[in-house]
Symmetry: C2
Subunit: 275 residues, 2 copies
């Protein structure tokens, strides 16, 4: 059997049910260690909003809270537009699964703001850093590891996964060129997913591998659909760093530019770590 | 009649009602132009979580979405713990008001994660910038303007409100020393509120005053209650800047340190602006 759709689109299939409700199913293509890759979960919750018949405008902000690991199997997503203004719309989103005892369990919560954007005075105060082009950076192919890592072509510039876990770390900065594998035209869900692509900053800062997982991620979309279309399936420059590692949680700030140096999204997350 | 409580505590009074539900009332002390100061709304929604009998741990992250202006009068807050894990708890929060037609209207939504934190390896990668001490910076007293501005003692270091609106702006960076007026011991709600204290970055970047308002704010708490207690009613160094102004929305990243240079919170927001 051949597969005619992209694994990303497979993962985002949602069947409409009752009003505001959609049914989905985990897919192997974006599987992580004990559940789906966090980025695909964020993308799926955003997709429920984008599919909603009452949608106004395009994504402006997205916050996703990972309440517990999503298990392999079916899940439901409820996306409710709680307030529609003239040019913005506010959404509450919740993903649930039925557990072994037959109870409905909240796995993920989210809020989304969509907006009808207009052209205004605009300026970017975050120029893309001066880095070698994607073609000059080596494509790191991982022989093993979780499936989702095979879904991204990553070309590290700095801050690649440490080769030795020897407690020698001194920075949390990672920069890499990034695109979908196979190639796919950028859209809002895939941009949201890419914001979560960085391995835990604590691994880099310490050069030590400790248990870690995202608790909450926020994405601000600076690009509209025209800029996404213009970016197409080109590389994105993805940059992330932490500000504070404190008593089991660290933050991460990230920026994603297209090859032309346009800032498409900024993102933040707070991440659990052990030890 | 004398007032024995702090205006901040007045604003945060919540009367328990049905399970998960609290009743509050706007107060004049933190009034802004067409509704309460956004920071006091964020603090109030967080307060509903902190008052909840099922609360686990302390605030870790808070996202507040401003769906519409809160009107003068009563409001209700619903705070629901949708998932409790061993050391984290996930909350969905919603504020509503009854409008003139007698309909319930969602004014604000939020998600909160609370956590029981443990001592771990920790490091700060955001040293407090080298700035003059609070005593060396002039306390800016505003003769008029919205009430909430009277609730904060602000001592700008750089990026004060432009004296002339002459389109001469070139940076979005503001640094100021900050504390409650009257003095008040720092807690999680007041720290959350202080994260929203900055006037719109677009005013500074353009040296032009245009309509602007926060759409969504996220706060990551790096401090636990012990560090807040230690900070007491001392000054905080508050810093904010934008990364991108694009088609009606800009982002803001902020950091708040105490006088000893400990990073207490990092915060992000996406803000609407016109023209």
């Amino acid at each position: 059997m051949t597969h005619s759709t992209h694994p990303f689109d497979d993962a985002l299939v949602l069947a409409p049910g009752a009003p505001d409700c959609y049914g989905g199913h985990t897919t192997p293509g974006y599987w992580n260690m004990v559940g789906p890759y966090g980025g695909i979960t964020a993308a799926t919750l955003l997709q429920a909003v984008l599919r909603h018949p009452l949608l106004l405008g395009e994504p402006l902000s997205l916050t996703v809270n990972y309440a517990t690991a999503v298990e392999e199997g079916p899940f439901s997503v409820q996306a409710t537009p709680v307030r529609t203004n003239r040019s913005t719309q506010h959404w509450m989103v919740m993903a649930e699964q039925i557990n072994a005892s037959g109870d409905s369990v909240v796995t993920t919560t989210a809020t989304v703001v969509t907006a009808a954007r207009r052209e205004t005075w605009s300026v970017s105060d975050s120029p893309m850093p001066a880095v070698p082009g994607a073609a000059q950076c080596q494509h790191v192919r991982l022989p093993a590891g979780p499936q989702w890592l095979q879904r991204y072509e990553m070309r590290p510039i700095t801050g690649a996964l440490p080769a030795q876990w020897d407690d020698s770390g001194h920075t949390s900065l990672t920069q890499l060129w990034l695109r979908d594998t196979p190639a796919r035209r950028l859209d809002f869900p895939s941009l949201a997913s890419m914001c979560d692509v960085f391995y835990p900053r604590v691994w880099l800062r310490r050069a030590r591998r400790v248990p870690a997982g995202t608790v909450s991620i926020t994405v601000y979309f600076h690009a509209g659909s025209a800029l996404l279309a213009q970016t197409g399936s080109g590389y994105l420059l993805a940059q992330a760093r932490a500000q504070e590692f404190r008593n089991g949680f660290f933050d991460q700030s990230a920026q994603l530019w297209n090859e032309e140096g346009r800032l498409l999204a900024t993102s933040h997350q707070i991440v659990y770590y052990k030890e």
